[in-house]
């Protein structure tokens, strides 16, 4: 069940995290995002060479690249949400406003994440 909860958190379908739970998730995602984004920087420098569509299509047709870019998006958005939550909790004084803003951030995260997943599946067809 703990594993299931973790998967739900990664995909943004779990309640907002607080205190030690939030602290742990923030650090864990930080380490994951660190490696994934440096991998992406490496790809941008050494394999993209501009933004040529054919080259990018070929690059993303490699399942390893596709999987890693998907993980980069999912974990970056998750880590970003955890970070924004701290900012919102620090500078917004009313709990209700905090919740409203977090709800909008969560909605945006889900929208972007599902669109990216659909887009990557579509590229496979």
């Amino acid at each position: 069940m703990r594993l299931f909860l973790r998967v739900r958190k990664i995909f943004g379908v779990a309640p907002f995290e607080h205190s030690s739970e939030h602290w742990k998730s923030q650090r864990q995602t930080a380490i994951i995002v660190f490696f994934l984004t440096y991998w992406l920087i490496y790809q941008i420098i050494f394999t993209f060479h501009g933004s040529d569509l054919i080259l990018i299509r070929e690059w993303i047709s490699n399942p390893i690249n596709e999987l890693l870019i998907l993980l980069t998006v999912i974990f970056s958005l998750y880590h970003g949400e955890l970070g924004l939550q701290v900012i919102v909790e620090d500078y917004i004084s009313t709990t209700q406003t905090q919740r409203n803003i977090m709800f909008m951030i969560r909605l945006l995260r889900l929208l972007l994440m599902t669109s990216v997943i659909i887009s990557l599946i579509y590229l496979r067809l």
Binding site: R27, F34, I45, L53, R57, V73, S76, T94, T95, L112
Partner: protein, 128 residues
């Protein structure tokens, strides 16, 4: 509206500025900037799935001067946030709390971020 009992963060305008709190607020600010980077990365992949015309539109959009300046800021934000993130993780395992250690690690992070970002752009623009 129910008021939260927690105190608000110290207001930046009345806070005495030091090296440590400057780097700390920069960490937060760069993280905030990187959120837009995440949105941009997602839109890039979505445009790729939408087909040729959408992708061409995206490339045209990213060639705008404001977006290019955003990329420049994003690169500095990324290298700063990732390097300072290591510093934060070191604190979490209880290392590097001495005043001189804080100053040295802070300087290393700032210099490293500028260096990495410069190397990155030199490489991207085929100047290196």
């Amino acid at each position: 509206m129910s008021k939260n009992n927690e105190p608000l963060s110290p207001h930046l305008t009345i806070y005495k500025w030091q090296v440590t709190n400057t780097l700390s607020i920069m960490h937060r600010f760069s993280g905030f900037t990187l959120c837009f980077g995440g949105v941009f990365l997602s839109i890039w992949l979505i445009s790729l799935g939408l087909g040729d015309s959408a992708y061409t539109l995206f490339v045209r959009f990213s060639n705008h001067i404001i977006i290019k300046l955003f990329f420049l800021a994003l690169s500095f934000a990324f290298f700063y946030h990732s390097l300072n993130g290591i510093r934060h993780l070191m604190w979490d395992i209880g290392k590097g709390f001495e005043t001189n250690e804080l100053k040295v690690s802070g300087a290393l992070v700032v210099v490293g971020a500028i260096l990495f970002a410069c190397l990155f752009w030199l490489k991207i623009l085929d100047l290196l």
